[in-house]
């Protein structure tokens, strides 16, 4: 069951909203119905967000993304369509029921932080619990826990005005975390921050997400941010969904010219990962192979070394041509003694930008191994350059 599901969602402001929805559902552009005197913010939007996923909604200002996120927790009622949270349709709920959903299932982080300036940091962080009626001591303890998670230990008694922008948004994040809801909506949460701090916050969010596994709907107008954070990205244009897909899918197969022009500005090296540029290893050896066989294979491939894997594809190390020859001279029956550990490997999720340094240090291809040390593939220098070249060809 998806954590959040939006189906044929419309939000039209104005008196003749119903007529507008009808016209829009026939496929008319929102500028064509201007004579109705309405503003169509969100048009026929459907998507599902899976539990534990970071789902990024990306769009320029006026694309309806803020309106969309406010319909997901019922701050704005949709003109038509449904929103389901954990399988419950929230569009028909009474006010009190809706409040319950918000306080127990969905919390929110705001663009301009929306901290209460008259309350100390800890009371800001504890706000959701206070609304829920949690006793004072307990909510303080939980708020302090959340503040520690975001790295704001020992700041709990300050007022928000005494904190820098980045720290204020950490409090905003702590407030959402302390609420301990499964779903967190983040409305341009990092847009008001300096670029450097924004990067820090993105890193921190990814780290937190790795351990907490929340369902996050993240709104942004910055495609780089979207690509960095999003497991999947939904690109909005003029209130309609232009494309939904992973960063890679959007880069490689933009649904239309609009999405394509967006992706031009994206720094591919920060989006493409090792797993997307790696190639299968041309050959590999087992520790039980004879030096003669290994040397022959190397000659055929024209290389002077060879990765050594066990029967389960675990990377044991590499053997060089010189060492194999020495082993052959010593009359060794296999190459097990000649295997040297590999200095540098990389994880499949590492972005390409972080691979250049390693590739520059060694002439050998870089081995890509998963968490169990199983080798998934290799990245020769040429593959890295290919990855960059694709950028040139797509623009």
């Amino acid at each position: 069951m998806p954590a959040v599901r939006a189906e044929n969602l419309y939000k039209v402001f104005g008196r003749r909203a119903a007529a507008a929805v009808e016209a829009l559902s026939d496929g008319r552009h929102r500028d064509e119905i201007a004579d109705l005197g309405v503003t169509a913010a969100v048009i026929d939007t459907s998507f599902e967000v899976e539990p534990g996923e970071i789902f990024v909604v990306m769009g320029l200002s006026g694309s309806g993304k803020s309106t969309l996120i406010r319909m997901l927790n019922g701050l704005l009622p949709p003109t038509s369509g449904t929103v389901e949270i954990d399988g419950t349709d929230i569009t028909g709920l009474k006010k009190a029921e809706l409040r319950k959903v918000r306080s127990e299932k969905v919390s929110m982080v705001f663009q301009h932080f929306a901290l209460f300036p008259h309350r100390p940091v800890v009371e800001n962080a504890a706000y959701a619990l206070e609304v829920r009626g949690v006793p004072r001591e307990e909510r303080r303890a939980k708020a302090l826990e959340a503040l520690e998670l975001v790295g704001l230990k020992d700041w709990e008694d300050k007022l928000p005005g005494q904190l820098s922008g980045g720290m204020q948004q950490r409090v905003g994040l702590a407030r959402a975390l302390a609420a301990d809801t499964d779903i967190i909506l983040m409305d341009e949460a990092f847009s008001a921050l300096d670029p450097l701090i924004r990067r820090d916050m993105q890193t921190q969010l990814l780290e937190l997400q790795a351990s907490l596994g929340k369902t996050i709907v993240f709104i942004t107008h910055d495609l780089n941010e979207a690509m960095r954070l999003g497991d999947r990205i939904c690109v909005l244009r003029d209130g309609r969904v232009a494309q939904i897909g992973t960063a890679q899918e959007i880069l490689d197969h933009p649904a239309n010219d609009y999405v394509a022009t967006f992706t031009e500005d994206v720094d591919r090296t920060r989006v493409l990962t090792a797993s997307s540029v790696m190639v299968p290893a041309a050959h590999s050896a087992a520790p039980t192979d004879t030096p003669r066989a290994v040397l022959r294979a190397m000659r055929e491939q024209g290389s002077d070394f060879c990765f050594v894997l066990d029967s389960d594809e675990h990377l044991l190390g590499a053997v060089s041509a010189d060492d194999a020859e020495a082993a052959q001279k010593d009359g060794a029956s296999d190459i097990a003694e000649a295997v040297k550990p590999v200095d540098e490997t990389t994880a499949p999720s590492t972005v390409v930008a972080d691979l250049f340094a390693a590739a520059a240090r060694s002439e050998r291809p870089l081995a890509v191994v998963d968490a169990d040390a199983r080798m998934l593939g290799v990245i020769p220098r040429a593959a890295l350059l290919d990855g960059l070249a694709m950028e040139g060809s797509s623009s």
Binding site: A96, R102, S103, A114, F116, H118, V131, L159, L185
Partner: protein, 411 residues
């Protein structure tokens, strides 16, 4: 040739206003009587507190100071218990003279030294109750506030109480000179030494012009009018902030109240409440209330929308958003409204004097009526001194509001 006249029908505006007043008075006479009685009692009580302070009132004032200190340290329960016991005993005394009986049954030696110190002829039971409450609060201060400034506060308050009562009731120093330091202290604590200095000079001027009693009775009238105006304007302001429709309806009504010459509704007020302080208070409330409503509305509307949205997003009910987010953040603006209410009330003092409200207004009115410039001018100067004192005090209180503290922290 005569200029052409177009016949315009004469609308009976004044008569229908009079008729509707009459109609209201007949239907709601009981309500207005009760309202008048309550306001009258408040003004009278406050006047006697300010202008003829009794030993009991001084003691209770000391109790209030210590209790506030304890409450600020979060000792709600013990203070509440002590005050509740005192209130119970006091009601018992009012109802059946229970305290009088209890005091009567005690040995006279207990009271004789105090009686001779204050040259009192009999033991006044409410004073005994007040002293008991004071003792309880002092004991609480020394048990709960051990090692804090609460102890110092309690001790100093008791010393001040002793000094004041001794000076006034034994040595016979006039009340105005005894009370003056309290006003100065308040100004010093809330605002600063400059205003405290002004208070010393200004109030000494009032005393030297022999206007103290009138000034205090005007102050009582202003405080009651301000209280009523706040009680009425705060809910109206909140409603106006929440509903655009209510706001558009109430705005012209407020303009009407503020611009209609005060004399015009002074007459109906007298018709409702007869001569005295009550119509003065009512007229003052009508005139002074509009800025309270306006600034309350403004203050609430001006609270950052994202903050209200944050409250909603975490599932807070409307009243919690109002009480915990909007009102605290609007408080400095609301206090500016209260300040305006007080200032406008002061300007109504003279007009209230015309309907027999007493106080400084009476002096000024007498000065006008008799062509007596000195009397009128002195009354006017006293009004100015009061006005500046109250203005500086209420303006400074904003500093203590949550939003004020937040702004100070952000600097």
């Amino acid at each position: 040739m005569n200029p052409m006249t177009v016949p315009v029908p004469r609308l009976p505006v004044g008569d229908s206003f009079d008729a509707s007043i009459e109609w209201l008075r007949n239907r709601l006479e009981g309500f207005f009587d009760v309202l008048g009685a309550i306001i009258g009692a408040c003004v009278e009580g406050l006047t006697s507190l300010l202008a003829h302070t009794s030993a009991t009132q001084f003691t209770l004032l000391a109790c209030a100071v210590i209790a506030v200190g304890l409450l600020r340290r979060g000792h709600l329960r013990p203070v509440g218990t002590a005050v509740a016991v005192w209130a119970g005993l006091y009601i018992a005394e009012l109802a059946g003279g229970a305290a009088t009986a209890a005091v009567g049954s005690m040995p006279a030696a207990l009271f004789s030294s105090a009686m001779s110190l204050y040259q009192a002829e009999y033991v006044y039971p409410p004073l005994v109750l007040a002293l008991l409450l004071l003792t309880a609060l002092v004991v609480l201060s020394f048990t709960y506030g051990r090692g804090t400034r609460q102890e110092l506060l309690a001790a100093l308050t008791c010393v001040a109480l002793f000094a004041i009562t001794l000076a006034h009731f034994t040595l016979g120093v006039q009340l105005s000179l005894v009370v003056l330091p309290l006003f100065v202290l308040l100004a010093y604590m809330v605002v600063g030494w400059r205003v405290a200095l002004f208070t010393v000079l200004g109030f000494l001027l009032i005393i030297s012009m022999d206007k103290w009693e009138n000034a205090m009775s005007s102050l009582a009238l202003i405080l009651v009018a301000t209280g009523v105006a706040i009680v009425v304007s705060l809910p109206l302001g909140i409603l106006a902030a929440y509903s655009d429709r209510f706001s558009t309806v109430v705005r012209p009504v407020l303009d009407f109240m503020q611009t209609l010459p005060a004399f015009v509704y002074l007459l109906p007020a007298v018709a409702f409440f007869s001569i005295g302080a009550v119509p003065g208070v009512i007229a003052t409330v009508v005139f002074a209330m509009p800025p309270g409503v306006r600034l309350t509305e403004l203050g609430i509307r001006q609270v950052d929308k994202e903050l209200v949205e944050a409250g909603e997003a975490f599932g807070a009910p409307d009243w919690a958003i109002l009480r915990r987010i909007q009102l605290p953040l609007a408080l400095s603006t609301i206090m500016a409204g209260v300040n305006q209410i007080i200032m406008l009330s002061l300007s109504m003092v003279v007009i209230a004097g015309m309907v027999g409200a007493g106080g400084l207004g009476n002096d000024v009115y007498r000065g006008i009526a008799q062509g007596n410039v000195p009397v009128g001018f002195e009354g006017g100067i006293a009004v100015v001194v009061l006005a500046i004192y109250l203005d500086r005090l209420t303006a400074a209180i904003t500093r203590f509001s949550p939003a004020g503290r937040a702004a100070a922290a952000a600097r």
